[in-house]
């Protein structure tokens, strides 16, 4: 089976969906690149090369470069989604949601409800999230709790290439607006990705490690660190369920509750700022619905209440480290 990076898996999936369905179009800044200049046409393919090569096959009518006008073109994509296209629109860094939040929050998310169920809005908004690249306070945030909290949106956060493919297929074919969040530090991670088509349903978590001593819930790049910690503990005979939520809207509550009902102990690891994070949300779900199974305080491991610092020495401790996760797990085991 071919080994692919997440970048490649996304690129391949976009290509195959564009071949399958002529209403799928890609929209964004520099998704092709090279417009209005003397160089080659496929000059960029997205700032991290994720859409590279698509303009060559599908042309500028379906791989649409835009001016730097996020509110305008995200709104345009939302309008197009209601009127016959299935746009996959790229917001580049998800931090840029600040300039187009209305289009996401007040428009695409609410159409169906406000219109009494009379429209579908099949749009995928792709964007990069996360710290780790020294991109500082305006290019490094984890804003998934914000969008996960908005009724009408679905929010996907793959942690590996296999899931990226299956979730992206589901996202493109879904009739609701989907926010598809790619962690920048994961683009070059790879795993086996089958060539065949497979769709991963939303709201279905994956158990990346299994064990009954403690439950660790996470998503996106943090899953890798949780696995690392789980493996280390396993060597000591302590076994953890590591639950990769994969989608943070919908949330697979069942998987979390079932695991906690067995383990009685829960640590949630989220790269977002702690307050009102997915860590808070999962904790509150369990404190309400599996309270009597709990044998220890629920621990949240998240980013602190500060902007993302630039300096490597600070960014490295800003993002939850394996050491912090391990400490939280051990403390929870002992509590």
């Amino acid at each position: 089976m071919p080994i692919k990076t997440i970048r490649q898996a996304i690129n391949d999936t976009l290509r195959s969906e564009m071949r399958r369905d002529s209403t799928v179009v890609i929209i964004g800044e520099d998704v092709a690149g090279g417009a209005g200049s003397d160089g080659i046409d496929d000059a960029a393919g997205g700032v991290f090369g994720v859409t590279k090569g698509l303009v060559g096959e599908f042309g500028r009518e379906r791989v649409i470069d835009t001016p730097i006008s996020e509110a305008g073109f995200i709104g345009m994509a939302a309008g197009a989604a209601c009127t016959g296209l299935r746009p996959v629109v790229e917001l580049m860094f998800f931090d840029f949601i600040g300039v187009c939040f209305d289009q996401i929050y007040n428009q695409m998310a609410k159409f169906r409800y406000m219109f009494g169920g009379k429209t579908d809005t099949p749009i995928v908004v792709r964007a990069m999230v996360g710290a780790g690249l020294r991109a500082a306070a305006q290019h490094s945030n984890m804003l998934h709790p914000l969008v996960a909290s908005i009724p009408g949106l679905k929010v996907v956060m793959p942690s590996n290439a296999y899931d990226a493919k299956g979730l992206l297929l589901t996202a493109i074919r879904d009739n609701d607006p989907v926010i598809f969040l790619e962690h920048k530090t994961l683009y070059d991670t790879s795993c086996e990705v089958p060539d065949e088509e497979y769709l991963i349903p939303f709201g279905q978590a994956a158990f990346t490690r299994e064990g009954s001593d403690i439950t660790i819930v996470s998503m996106s790049s943090m899953v890798l660190r949780c696995n690392e910690v789980a493996d280390k503990l396993a060597a000591e005979g302590i076994y953890a369920d590591v639950i990769d939520l994969r989608t943070v809207s919908p949330i697979d509550e069942g998987a979390v509750l079932e695991s906690v009902e067995v383990s009685g102990r829960l640590v949630i690891v989220d790269e977002a700022n702690e307050r009102c994070s997915m860590a808070s949300e999962i904790s509150s779900i369990v404190a309400e619905k599996a309270f009597h199974s709990l044998r220890a305080p629920i621990a949240k491991v998240a980013a602190p209440h500060s902007p993302v610092p630039f300096s490597p020495s600070l960014e490295d401790i800003y993002v939850p480290t394996a050491a912090r996760i391990e400490d939280a797990v051990r403390a929870t085991l002992e509590a």
Binding site: T23, V25, E61, R62, I64, T66, P67, S69, A71, G72, F73, I74, G75, M76, A77, A78, G79, A80, A81, C82, T83, G84, L85, D102, Q103, N106, Q107, F111, R112, Y113, M114, F115, G116, G117, K118, T119, D120, P151, G152, K154, D174, N175, D176, G203, P250
Partner: protein
């Protein structure tokens, strides 16, 4: 291009329907029968009507908070609209949207929009669909003088020019955005000129004159359908009411409203013109007036008789699947 008698009758019917609809909404609101914030359109009928008469139901319209007139001109069901504004289960949006969110995608109505500047991005999206799918359809967005200062509107104009989209930006300049004059808020004082500088033809019309609006739209529509890209139109207009129903309108000058209602009533201007030019007879207009009155009466009556949405509706229509 001269309008047929049936079309002129149709135009009058639309304008009269809007007028009657808005006057009844105002009356029922004041009596307490309609909840929420309601912005009525009466006074501006000639703009919506002159603009939308060119469109089929496969062309899309993006509207504003003051959207009833656009909806009616675009062909939305009157009874469904009235029920919607009343919050009833039989409303066009099953009572979930209300006055500021009436929409009917099947009629090409992308929705009133309670966010000022919300519609133009959506409308250019519909134009992108038309262009990409190779239909000859187009889109039309309405924006007020106040809304013309919103960033989304400027961005949309640039995008429409860059992508050469079949779309029309209709600016209805009724002189006010809420309680603030356009003379203050539009720094350059020239909405059409500003639009032109974005790289598209811009037309200025008297929005009290249905025929002038219709003609300007003809040019814009022809351009859009033939692949010539976007057009902006600035229509001068008057608002016969406050910003919302209940606004004391302290910003108006002495006697302004009386003057407007007397001298700047697009329906009176229309009637005078079509009768004077012998295009229609007074009796034809009167007949329409009566029919419209009956229609609105029954819309109000049926609206009040309709049930409110059941509790079980609260969580439906959030997703197509979840």
């Amino acid at each position: 291009m001269a309008l047929q008698e049936t079309q002129i009758l149709e135009a009058y019917r639309t304008m009269r329907t809007i007028r009657e609809f808005e006057e009844r909404v105002t009356a029922e609101f004041e009596k307490g029968g309609i909840p929420g914030f309601v912005h009525v359109y009466d006074g501006q009928e000639a703009v919506a009507t002159g603009a939308c008469m060119h469109l089929t139901k496969d062309d899309y319209v993006g509207s504003t908070h003051r959207g009833h007139g656009h909806c009616i001109a675009k062909g939305c069901d009157i009874k469904g609209m009235m029920a919607e504004i009343m919050g009833r289960a039989t409303g066009l949006c099953r009572g979930k949207g209300g006055s500021m969110h009436i929409a009917d995608i099947d009629q090409g109505m992308l929705g009133a929009n309670a966010i000022v500047g919300g519609a133009p991005p959506l409308a250019i999206g519909a134009a992108l669909s038309a262009k990409t799918l190779g239909t000859k359809n187009l889109s039309l967005s309405f924006t007020g003088d106040g809304g013309s200062n919103q960033g989304t509107v400027f961005e949309s104009m640039n995008l429409a020019v860059v992508l050469q989209l079949p779309t029309i930006f209709m600016y209805e300049n009724n002189g006010y955005g809420e309680h603030t004059g356009a003379a203050y808020a539009v720094g350059c004082g020239d909405i059409a000129g500003r639009a032109e500088a974005f790289g598209m033809p811009a037309l200025r019309v008297d929005g009290l004159d249905f025929f002038a609006v219709y003609e300007a739209m003809q040019e814009a529509v022809d351009r859009a359908r033939s692949g010539g890209g976007p057009t902006a139109i600035e229509a001068s207009a008057v608002r016969f009411n406050g910003h919302f129903i209940g606004d004391p309108q302290l910003y108006r000058g002495e006697g302004e409203l009386d003057r407007l209602r007397r001298d700047s009533d697009c329906l009176k201007i229309f009637s005078k013109r079509v009768i004077g030019d012998k295009l229609l007879k007074k009796s034809q207009l009167n007949a329409i007036d009566r029919e419209v009155a009956v229609l609105i009466d029954s819309a109000v009556e049926e609206g009040f008789a309709a049930p409110f949405p059941a509790e079980s509706e609260l969580l439906t229509d959030v997703y197509s699947n979840y």
